[in-house]
């Protein structure tokens, strides 16, 4: 409550200053009195240097649920950011989930430890725009339409394709499609990474399976049926993870292509294949929180992530950065990183709308345990 009053007072005072600091929705000039929590973009070198100076003055950045190893290279990215700007990063709950992030934003409101920036599944950002501060990075136009909010409340960052990982030491002939996974030769060998009602990778595996089996973005049920059948014929192993892949209990694991490399690091014989019968991709989403205790550092973090350096660092972590197409065109993409990725599937990748995603999630939540659990 107190904070809200303070902000209102601050805005009032600032807008009465006819100092030329344009607020409420436009670019900020270099002014020491800038209230960074309401800045919606910066322009030019002047704007950037003011942002860098203000962020350095804040000295800290609170991120949340960014894994320290593997996972889109976040460990390296955070180190590089700190090295470059001298801003210390506090990473709360590195292995947490999107819901953990939203809960933290709600519960830590007004505290110095509250998260400044989020990296969440898109639907979590869309349903919580009241918690977010709109901001458009300088490369905003290079983020494809449909993967960002019009007002800048959220914008996708990196993603990848549903892929099939396979241990060539245990599996003689690796499957190349969802149809292959149902072959008797893969008995007790096929896993997905976790529970589709909890892990977005597992949920996406079900969606991809639906596309491969006559389903659509409006109909995920064939995907559930597919896994129910896998369970019935004994191919499906529930509770798969990177650890079970390395241990050999799930020598075939369906997961994001950019996360399979974490298995490869421990298992040289691990191979990653993008299935021929399902082209399903998803991106994670960035956002700045409305009550960010370090508003300038938060904005600088986004500028950094969407710079060529930041985007190429995602790529180094095997994740496909959202500006990949524009960077490929402009020739700024790091080709050495790019060639390590499995080839993207042929044809245009399409994305479900949020309404389709929400409906599909409700279907999986309702039917996964009863249909897959009951089979077999």
């Amino acid at each position: 409550m107190l904070n809200k009053v303070k902000v209102a007072v601050a805005i009032g005072t600032l807008s009465s200053l006819a100092a030329g600091v344009a607020l409420s929705g436009t670019s900020a000039g270099a002014s020491s009195s800038t209230n960074w929590s309401t800045v919606k973009s910066v322009s030019g070198t002047m704007g950037m240097s003011a942002l860098v100076a203000a962020a350095k003055k804040e000295g800290h950045l609170n991120v949340i649920t960014l894994p320290l190893q593997g996972w889109a290279n976040y460990g390296v990215i955070m180190k590089d950011f700190t090295k470059k700007y001298g801003i210390k990063i506090n990473d709360e709950n590195p292995n947490g989930s999107s819901q953990d992030e939203i809960t933290a934003v709600m519960n830590d409101k007004g505290r110095a430890s509250a998260p400044d920036v989020l990296d969440v599944g898109t639907s979590y950002a869309v349903q919580n725009t009241n918690l977010l501060a709109p901001y458009k990075v300088q490369t905003w136009s290079e983020i494809p339409a449909g993967t960002k909010a019009n007002n800048g409340a959220w914008f996708d960052d990196y993603g990848g394709y549903v892929s099939i990982g396979c241990d060539t030491a245990k599996i003689k002939v690796c499957p190349t499609s969802f149809a292959d996974l149902a072959k008797p030769m893969y008995k007790n060998e096929v896993g997905i990474n976790g529970d589709p009602t909890q892990a977005s990778a597992a949920f996406s595996a079900v969606f991809a399976a639906a596309l491969a089996n006559g389903g659509s973005f409006n109909n995920i049920e064939p995907g559930i049926k597919f896994f129910a059948n896998l369970n019935k014929i004994g191919n499906f192993v529930p509770g798969g993870s990177a650890a079970t892949a390395v241990a050999g209990t799930t020598p075939i694991l369906i997961w994001w292509d950019y996360l399979q490399n974490g298995i490869q690091a421990n298992l040289k014989t691990w191979k990653v294949i993008i299935p021929t019968d399902a082209n399903y991709a998803a991106y994670y989403t960035q956002a700045i929180t409305a009550d960010a205790p370090h508003p300038a550092a938060a904005r600088l973090w986004e500028e950094y992530l969407y710079s060529t350096v930041g985007q190429n660092l995602f790529l180094q972590g095997y994740a496909r950065p959202i500006e990949l197409a524009a960077m490929t065109k402009a020739g700024t993409v790091n080709k050495n990183f790019l060639k390590l990725l499995p080839a993207a599937p042929k044809g245009v990748t399409k994305y479900p709308t949020l309404a389709q995603l929400t409906a599909a999630k409700a279907t999986v939540a309702a039917n996964w345990a009863s249909e897959v659990g009951a089979a077999g």
Partner: protein, 309 residues
């Protein structure tokens, strides 16, 4: 306890002395005897009372804080949430009764042993194993009794592959077996003090009076042990009803359990914006446990009456 002691000894309640004078010290005395309990009450209030209150409140609210019955309707109108409660209750019952009986027998066998070192080793081991759960336990079973597990391979080489005989680790039976791993040892841990209270002299006295072994158990052993055994089983029920990480790691959500569903809603990466349904599920679990506590108390009273007669 503190209450009854103070009431028993409070002079004013004996009703002879002048009231106005006697009342004062009694109230003071009563309050003072409460003092040692205050930290405990505070602790219970903070870690149990407040969260329960918050969950109960949020269960009847929308995301924006308006009052609603919607969440309760969602979880009681059939579908996966009712199935979750049903499966959770079944699992809790099975993993309370079977390990309750097995644990009691095991603990009795241990208590009868004269080997002190052996007893101590078992007690420490139970303490450790009863608290062994979660992902580690699930993984241990996957590595031993999973489809590619060591024990499975060994049995398979004897042409006894359990997967060819209807066994699977990833369904209800599998989860129940894994739960028993910590439930049996938990039972041993909590029932041993009661078994130690079963005095050797009673048996000798019964034998001297000509009681058969059966009569000894019917009139002495079981009546003495029944209340603590039921109480311990109730503890196991609570433990099995609320266990989460083990089942989730083992089954990947292919079994409908309320704790897993709460986890999906409040901790997941898939279902967004349903927090209050999650609180409603938590509230439902609290109600079920409260009902079981009351049922248990009634049962306890009934059984003690039966034992007296």
């Amino acid at each position: 306890m503190a209450f009854t002691t103070s009431l028993d000894t409070a002079p004013s309640l004996r009703g002879v002395e002048g009231r106005a004078v006697a009342k004062r010290p009694s109230r003071w005395h009563g309050l003072r005897s409460l003092v040692p309990v205050v930290p405990f009450l505070l602790y219970v209030g903070v870690v149990l009372g407040i969260p329960t209150f918050i969950i109960a409140t949020l269960a009847f609210q929308t995301r924006t804080g308006h009052a609603t019955w919607h969440n309760i309707q969602v979880i009681t109108s059939g579908g996966q949430y009712l199935l979750g409660f049903e499966t959770s209750l079944k699992l809790a019952l099975v993993t309370a009764v079977i390990p309750g009986v097995l644990g009691t027998i095991l603990a009795y066998a241990i208590a009868q042993s004269n080997h002190e070192a052996f007893k101590r080793v078992i007690a420490s081991a139970s303490g450790v194993l009863a608290n062994f759960g979660g992902v580690n336990l699930a993984f241990m079973f996957v590595a031993s009794l999973g489809p590619a597990g060591v024990a499975t391979a060994w049995l398979s080489s004897l042409h006894l592959n359990p997967y060819n005989h209807g066994w699977t680790l990833y369904k209800f039976t599998g989860v129940a077996v894994v739960y028993m791993y910590f439930q049996v040892t938990l039972m041993v841990l909590v029932i041993t003090p009661a078994l130690n209270g079963l005095r050797e002299q009673w048996r000798e006295a019964a034998a001297n009076l000509g009681a058969s072994r059966w009569q000894y158990w019917r009139y002495v052993g079981v009546p003495v042990l029944l209340p603590p055994v039921l109480g311990s089983m109730f503890l196991l029920f609570g433990s099995g009803f609320s266990a989460y990480a083990t089942a989730e790691a083992l089954t990947g959500g292919t079994i409908a359990l309320t704790p897993i569903q709460i986890g999906s809603i409040l901790q997941g990466n898939v279902i967004s914006g349903e927090e209050n349904v999650g609180y409603a599920l938590g509230f439902g679990m609290i109600v079920i446990l409260l009902v079981s506590v009351v049922a248990y108390a009634l049962l306890q009273r009934r059984s003690s009456r039966w034992l007296r007669s």
